[in-house]
């Protein structure tokens, strides 16, 4: 016993001793991060920080704080508080001089602390989140814990619980009992798969009396395909995934393949750092697979502006900045966007850091083009095999390099030059600021075209009038002719292949077009989409050459499904990156090279200074934020509140972690023991006693910890928008388990889409596609699916790292009256009507299916009364009953309509209960 106690004390001391969060006592060294910085942030930084530097004094960086102010001398003199103005001004008699300016003075305690801090040398420290986590020891866990716990009746089930109970003890709170078995299963099903248990799952679990019944259930859930769908739902918010481009016209975009990639990545338990790497830089991996290219859709989910007259470079730039902001918000939990205009007001990031970081993203091929290029072209199975066949043939008969060039062109149409980058227009312009249009005898210039080794040009264009010709001149409007060709008329955009005599070097090309038939008219001879240049098709003398070339051209020109991907600029199209003065994209300042913020000491040696190097660093153990932010997000999804409540801000303005040791413990375990795989982490969380607690609230808990930050009870939170829909469909027995593919359009009232200049319309999906999981619902940014928005979904125009949960009458109206939910109630009523018992038995059954537990008698009575009242009402008005039951898909009118209508009332009521839309 004594030894045990000693051991407990020993480990507790070890924790405080080594923890970086420990508060040093007043007798010791003052700790900058935990003691000084909070005061500065609260009372000083607003006027003396990244945004304003009143009196030439800033407290953001140490060198600034010790630097000269407008008075000519420094305000802080390390070791000498008596001569430091910073201290003197805190107690100045003149209210105009006394700091903080026109605000409450600091307390004497705080002033003493600052004096001491200056005396000790005004040392700076890092904010906890910017320092690597260190493995804390598990509090109160004895060496023999694993063994002795087996025999004892200890509450703790795994290490999480030791951290939690340690904290609860400090906060004077007590943990709760374990939740009921059915409630627990419903909770864990919703958490891991986004769906409540099916009847079978519930029965199996309740009947399984083995010790590890719960663990078996958890393992099954983690292995089910619905797991990937649930977590993809979370990720798509962060990736701002949408089926449209955004902005005014908000036209259709095809990027659903990315959604399917995310589902698969979660189901395959892909290590999180690999997941990051593929999404940020899949295209830069050696020999990327199609899936790795599809993954780069993550940052192609930025918006494209098709509104006529908009500057493509402005919106390309907006997309690039959004990539920087999103990367920080999602992966690093840091608000980087505010340093777009100035140094960070509170955190140690400089204005320039933002643009260095942005430079990583500034050299991709996307240019706000109408075609949303670059795309990966998705070939059907047969054609995909032919694409592969051509690649192999070229490799065999020529070289790997050539095979790659042709393969890339077939799959992505890259590298090509978007016509919207043309300039020097003469009788020509960018039509609707999208495509180059040249009138008769007009011309335009395309800059910096790499012609080395090329002898074929591919032109994608559209022309209506017979008789056009195009000539391309080198470097001058009347320079030597590179090629001349007839402009054949087309049906819509088509590609044309033209040979030319090879010439090396990088050249400016002048496009000149004529069509005598258009003399005196301002119509275009042609409208151009893009221009591509290829080397000679290989193996000229091979007997299969002609056949292969023909096949290549057929595949290159055929129309396919596509998905948006990233592709890096070739050297001749390299863009320089600049600081934008005060954040405006036209005010270009100093040129910068790609790098991570100075605070992190620059990109580690050996990593390339491109997106791949960046992605590798983000997913490495050297990055102090990535694992913590990820673990915190998984935790928040399960408990409804993060260990750091401000998931989007781990910086000094965010909330401090409620249990920092636990956060670091899980982060390190996630990286080292679980090799960044989410499944074992989630398993550890849901296997903890902390997770399995009952969610009832006592007045004491409500007073001491209303938000449940310390986890003295199980989570009781409203389901997400997706879960609200999916659950209703599943419980009423109509949920389709079909996975993947193009987004679907379930019922939506008329007149929701009223978008200018857009012919798109909501076309109701057929059959089971009406009952797919919410994840597959078509997501239009300017007009998202109404019920999703009512339940706090986001429009996904930009990334929103945390959905706030609201509780509004519009939510009630949705689940009461939205025809989708009315239909669910009808199906649900039919389902319970099949039960061969009396009405009470059927209500019991319905409640059990919905809540995974037995109904209490008082609730049963309330529902029975409703049934009786409804039955009387519908008996008196059989027409109402028929209308209320609506059209039956199976086309047979029920025999006892009043009865079924009354049961539908009961079903609808169950689907609207607080306990149904809540996870308990």
């Amino acid at each position: 016993m004594n030894i045990n106690k000693l051991l407990i004390w020993g480990s507790a001391l070890a924790v405080t001793g080594f923890s970086i969060y420990s508060l040093s006592g007043y007798g010791d060294e003052v700790d900058y991060s935990t003691q000084v910085k909070p005061i500065l942030n609260r009372s000083c930084i607003k006027c003396h920080g990244g945004v304003k530097k009143q009196g030439g004094f800033s407290l953001l960086f140490r060198e600034e704080a010790l630097g000269k102010t407008v008075s000519g001398k420094p305000a802080i003199i390390p070791g000498d508080p008596e001569h430091s103005d910073f201290i003197a001004r805190l107690t100045h008699k003149d209210p105009e001089e006394r700091m903080p300016y026109q605000a409450e003075p600091l307390s004497q305690e705080e002033i003493d602390l600052l004096i001491k801090w200056v005396k000790q040398g005004a040392n700076w420290g890092e904010h906890w989140a910017f320092t690597s986590p260190e493995m804390p020891s598990v509090p109160n866990k004895t060496f023999f814990a694993g063994f002795t716990d087996w025999f004892s009746s200890k509450w703790e089930k795994n290490d999480i619980d030791y951290f939690v109970s340690h904290k609860l003890e400090k906060e004077n709170l007590k943990h709760s009992a374990q939740a009921e078995k059915g409630t627990l299963l419903r909770r864990v099903c919703l958490d891991l798969t986004g769906l409540p248990p099916t009847e079978q799952q519930l029965t199996d679990f309740l009947n399984d009396k083995s010790v590890n019944a719960y663990e078996k259930a958890v393992d099954k859930l983690l292995a089910s395909p619905q797991y990937g769908e649930r977590w993809a739902g979370m990720w798509l918010d962060l990736a701002r995934y949408s089926d449209t481009k955004g902005y005014e016209r908000d036209d259709v975009r095809s990027i659903w393949k990315y959604r399917d990639y995310v589902i698969d990545a979660f189901n395959q338990n892909m290590p999180y750092n690999q997941f990051i790497k593929e999404q940020l830089a899949g295209d830069l991996l050696p020999n990327p697979t199609d899936n790795q290219l599809i993954a780069t859709g993550f940052h192609r989910n930025t918006m494209t502006n098709d509104e006529g007259g908009t500057d493509n470079e402005e919106f390309r730039t907006a997309a690039v900045l959004d990539r920087t902001n999103t990367t920080w918000e999602v992966l690093q939990g840091t608000t980087f966007s505010c340093i777009q205009c100035h140094s960070h007001p509170y955190d140690p990031f400089r204005h320039e850091d933002y643009y260095k970081y942005t430079a990583f993203f500034n050299n991709t091929r996307d240019e706000d083009s109408f075609g949303d290029y670059p795309n990966l072209r998705l070939f059907a199975k047969d054609d995909a095999a032919k694409v592969e066949n051509i690649k192999n043939w070229i490799q065999k008969n020529s070289s790997l390099q050539k095979a790659n060039e042709y393969n890339k062109f077939l799959k992505t149409w890259q590298p090509t030059y978007n016509s919207l980058t043309c300039d020097e227009f003469v009788k020509s312009e960018l039509s609707d600021t999208k495509f180059l249009g040249i009138q008769n005898t007009g011309s335009a210039r395309l800059k910096n075209v790499d012609l080395n080794g090329k002898n074929q040009m591919v032109i994608r264009y559209m022309a209506w009038k017979v008789g056009g010709t195009l000539s391309i001149h080198l470097d001058k409007i009347d320079g030597p002719i590179l090629l001349a060709t007839k402009i054949d008329t087309t049906k819509g955009f088509q590609s044309k292949l033209v040979n030319f005599k090879p010439i090396n070097g990088i050249h400016n090309l002048y496009f000149r077009a004529t069509n005598p038939a258009l003399k005196g008219s301002t119509d275009y001879t042609a409208l151009f989409d893009w221009f591509g240049f290829l080397s000679e098709f290989p193996a000229k003398n091979n007997p299969e050459h002609d056949l292969m070339q023909k096949e290549f051209w057929r595949l290159a020109n055929m129309s396919t499904d596509v998905t948006l991907i990233m592709d890096e600029n070739p050297a001749n199209l390299f863009r320089k990156s600049h600081v934008f003065e005060r954040g405006g994209w036209t005010a270009k300042g100093k040129e910068v090279q790609p790098d991570i913020p100075a605070l992190f000491g620059g990109l580690p040696k050996g990593l390339p200074k491109n997106r791949l190097g960046l992605a590798t660093w983000i997913g490495s153990e050297q990055n102090p934020l990535t694992a913590r932010v990820a673990v915190n997000r998984f935790w928040e999804q399960i408990f409804g509140i993060g260990l750091v409540e401000t998931m989007e801000d781990f910086g000094t303005q965010g909330f401090t972690p409620s249990n920092p040791e636990l956060l670091d413990y899980l982060s390190i375990k996630f990286m080292k023991e679980y090799n960044w795989q989410p499944k074992p982490l989630l398993k550890e969380i849901v296997m903890s006693a902390t997770y399995q607690q009952d969610s009832k609230v006592t007045p004491e808990m409500l007073e001491k910890d209303p938000a449940n930050r310390f986890f003295a009870r199980g989570a009781r939170i409203r389901l997400s928008a997706e879960q609200v829909r999916d659950q209703a469909l599943l419980v009423s027995g109509v949920l389709s388990n079909k996975m993947y593919g193009k987004s679907v359009m379930p019922y939506q009232p008329e007149g929701i889409w009223r978008i200018p200049y857009s012919g798109a319309s909501w076309k109701l999906s057929e059959g089971e596609d009406q009952f797919r999981r919410a994840l597959y619902t078509y997501w239009r940014r300017s007009s998202p699916y109404p019920s999703m928005m009512t339940f706090d979904g986001t429009s996904r125009e930009i990334c929103l790292a945390r959905r706030l949960r609201t509780n509004t009458p519009l939510q009630a109206l949705t689940t009461l009256n939205d025809p989708v939910y009315v239909e669910c109630a009808r199906y649900f009523a039919k389902r319970i009507d099949k039960e061969k018992t009396d009405i009470n038995g059927q209500i019991r059954k319905g409640y059990y299916l919905a809540m995974s537990k037995e109904i209490t008698n008082d609730k049963l009575l309330i529902l029975n009364n409703l049934y009786q009242k409804s039955l009387q009402g519908f008996k008196k008005k059989p027409n109402d009953a028929m209308k209320f039951l609506g059209f039956c898909p199976d086309n047979t009118l029920p025999k006892n309509m009043a009865d079924l209508a009354a049961k539908t009332m009961v079903a609808m009521t169950i689907l609207n209960l607080d306990e149904f839309v809540m996870k308990e």
Partner: protein, 493 residues
């Protein structure tokens, strides 16, 4: 100041109580159901207090004394031409058809104008009207009769020349997506006087939503309860407000009672305050089901009112939306946003030409706009209702020559340097014109006001200091006007 604030607070408390009583005994608030909370054993006071604390839309005081209590904002989406409607420029008339001087083109960027366009004189006649002598287009005969109620801002400017970003800038203070709209800020700051109606209502006419879409009335980073609720002319006025077919009101009432009784049991077991909030939301939903269709139904308005506005029953029309705006404000809605689509007069086709279509758009809107001011006035509502009228930017004094070519019809390109916005009611000065543009109406030369200034002024009339009205998000305090904006003191009465 402190005494003022105190007085204001008491007044609001009194008014809130008055409203509450009104709602409980007569009018819209009177429902068969009564308050469920009061009848189910929860202590009355604490239940009400709890529900109120949980209700983010309960009425609140503004920090300063504001004259306006509600806003009706009429936005003509597409950007109407100030040069045909408000900004009388005889000099421009003289230059009609001449090439635009280089000085206006150098270093400038336009959405569609390329090369050197020609100048375009006004496609309408102007008269001086009212005691104030304001110059107004003859295309606005009805507005001419109420000009003395209005303050015109003739030298407005913006920095966005595409519709969607400019509309976002006008309503959210940022051309990029993700910021809360002004109406969301206002309902966040003031709550709503009527808990049976949404606090922030959006009405659209002209067949399309504005270019910026729902983001123009989004809640951005504010909680989603503050986003605008679009009330529709066809189908349910608010989505899912109508009971399913075949369900009587009586049955609906029974079902909500059953839901709330069971939720009450749930509360007794779990003690989660969220459950109490849900009970009151279901009650409110039930009440809204009557109050929203009631207020959205204009059929029962007297004939003379219909004639005054020029309504078209059963159709989506701007005039109908004007009556609705008045009714909504009358019933305590805080912010009513009207969008009318179809004001983008480029002149590249007949449907958007100044020489043909502008007259139609004016005919569709002029009468109702003037009627709205008169009607508010005769009901004593204009004093504390601020009416704002405008577009997202202005139009060029040059004729558009899209893609460098002359056009068959008369039209103007997007223009950021000058446009007109007007305000009336809500403590705004009457019969006043602020700001002036140069002789051809290209840019403001005095009294220039920005979109931020307008926002600062609107917030001011409601009792907010735009620099202090903030919301913390992503590590900093955000405000509607970002780091800009100055209250236009001259237009305050």
């Amino acid at each position: 100041m402190k005494i003022h604030q105190e007085a204001k607070k008491h007044l609001i408390e009194y008014e809130t109580r008055r409203h509450f009583l009104k709602q409980c005994t007569t009018g819209i608030g009177m429902m068969a159901m009564g308050s469920f909370l009061n009848s189910c054993g929860i202590n009355n006071v604490s239940a009400d207090a709890l529900a109120n604390a949980q209700n983010p839309l309960s009425p609140k005081n503004s920090p300063l004394l504001g004259k306006a209590k509600a806003v009706i904002y009429i936005h003509c989406a597409g950007a109407p031409s100030q040069l045909e409607m408000f900004d009388y420029k005889p000099e421009l008339q003289k230059m009609d058809g001449q090439p635009c001087p280089q000085s206006f083109l150098e270093g400038k960027k336009f959405a569609f104008i390329r090369g050197v366009p020609n100048m375009l004189g006004a496609q309408s006649k102007f008269s001086q009207v009212g005691n104030s002598g304001a110059w107004l287009s003859d295309k606005l005969p009805h507005l001419q009769t109420v000009a003395d109620e209005i303050s015109f801002l003739k030298a407005m400017h913006t920095d966005q020349f595409n519709h969607a970003p400019a509309q976002l800038l006008m309503h959210t203070g940022s051309p990029r997506l993700g910021r809360p709209a002004m109406g969301a800020w206002v309902t966040y700051g003031l709550g709503s006087e009527n808990q049976n109606l949404p606090g922030y209502v959006v009405l659209a006419s002209g067949g399309q939503n504005p270019d910026a879409g729902k983001s123009a009335w989004g809640s951005g980073f504010l909680p989603s309860v503050y986003q605008g609720v679009q009330c529709r002319s066809e189908g349910d006025p608010v989505l899912y407000i109508t009971d399913p077919e075949g369900m009587s009101r009586d049955l609906r009432k029974s079902s909500i009672e059953a839901i709330n009784k069971i939720n009450q049991k749930q509360y007794e077991e779990f003690h989660d305050p969220e459950t109490i909030a849900r009970i009151s939301q279901y009650e409110m939903a039930f009440k809204m089901q009557t109050s929203v269709p009631e207020v959205m139904d204009i059929k029962n308005e007297p004939k003379y009112i219909h004639e005054m506005y020029g309504t078209e029953l059963g159709k989506e029309s701007f005039a109908n939306n004007c009556i609705l705006a008045r009714k909504l404000v009358e019933n305590g809605v805080r912010y009513v946003q009207l969008f009318d689509w179809g004001w983008d007069f480029h002149g590249n086709v007949k449907e958007n030409s100044l020489d043909f279509e502008l007259s139609n758009k004016c005919r569709q809107t002029d009468k109702a706009t003037a009627a709205l001011l008169q009607d508010l006035k005769q009901r004593g509502l204009l004093e504390d209702t601020l009416v704002v009228w405008g577009g997202e930017f202005g139009r060029t004094p040059m004729q558009e020559n899209r893609e460098g070519r002359p056009q068959q019809y008369k039209g103007r390109d997007h223009h950021t340097e000058a446009f007109t916005v007007w305000m009336a009611g809500g403590g705004v000065r009457k019969g006043y014109t602020h700001g002036e543009t140069d002789p051809i109406g290209y840019a403001g030369i005095s009294g220039r006001t920005s979109t931020y200034d307008l926002q600062a002024t609107i917030l001011h009339t409601l009792g907010f200091d735009h620099e202090k009205f903030t919301y913390p998000f992503q590590g900093r305090d955000f405000r509607l006007t970002d780091v800009h904006g100055k209250v236009i003191k001259e237009v305050l009465g």
